[in-house]
Amino acid sequence: MKIHVYAGLKDYFEPEFEVEGEARNTDELKTLLVAINGKAEAMLSSCRFAVEEGFIDNAYKLKSHDTIVIIPPSSGG
């Protein structure tokens, strides 16, 4: 599945990349991402996830073709 990250997460990951391995939900995806870069763990714990311009929670069943946007806490204004 494709991953897009923004803002501070770009200090830990490329802005866009693909993850290999199975992740059925956002918790499992976080585990995969922490395995890629453990330094991102704290930030990932406060992130929201979105698919197709809508937020998802851990109940959402991730699909292999999903493009998942990982959204750190906002800091606009």
């Binding site: 923004y6 501070g8 406060s46 992130c47 929670d57 946007v69 959204i71 806490p73 800091s75 204004g77």
Partner: protein
């Protein structure tokens, strides 16, 4: 004396066209937004302008850079404005947020509300800017005078609410 009015019937059209709300990679036309916000039924117009400070936590700031997840940010700003209009009787509710590099002293975000009385216009304006700052996927990066940079992390509501989707709205600088 001939009555004068700065009412511009194009206000609703501007909103409908998305001209005065959402995101902008160019400097915000605050004067133009305000000119379009007047309404004969509004006795109060409140304009909030969020501007770039030259310091952050005691460190000199050279400029800010804003990044947004555009499609969702635009959608959410529209929903926040609609929600405000459902809570208060507003003749105007518009907001625009910058993306890209914004210089010290320049405007990063503008929210304008107009209502019959100031109470509603103030309350709605505060509601809109708080929700945009906390919820819309827009991030700022402080670029310091010493050449370092730091992504903002203003919204830490989840530390209190225990839920990254739940926010508390209090005054922020």
């Amino acid at each position: 004396m001939t009555p004068s009015s700065s009412f511009r019937p194009a206000v609703e059209g501007r909103e409908a066209a998305g001209v005065a709300r959402g995101l902008s990679g160019e400097p915000i036309d605050m004067v133009g937004m305000l000119a379009g916000a007047h309404h004969p039924g509004a006795g109060a117009v409140v304009l909030f302008s969020g501007e770039v400070r030259d310091n952050n936590r005691g460190r000199p700031v050279s400029f800010l850079e804003y990044e947004a997840y555009g499609p969702l940010a635009e959608k959410m700003i529209g929903e926040i404005l609609a929600e405000a209009k459902s809570r208060w009787v507003l003749q105007t509710a518009v907001a625009q947020h910058r993306t890209g590099i914004v210089a010290v002293g320049d405007t990063a975000v503008v929210v304008i509300t107009a209502s019959a009385h100031r109470g509603e216009a103030y309350a709605a304006n505060r509601y809109i800017i708080d929700r945009i700052k906390h919820e819309a996927p827009i991030w700022k990066c402080e670029h310091y005078a010493d050449g370092t940079h730091e992504w903002g992390n203003n919204c830490n509501c989840h530390a209190v609410t225990g839920d990254v989707s739940k926010h508390i709205y209090e005054s922020e600088g």
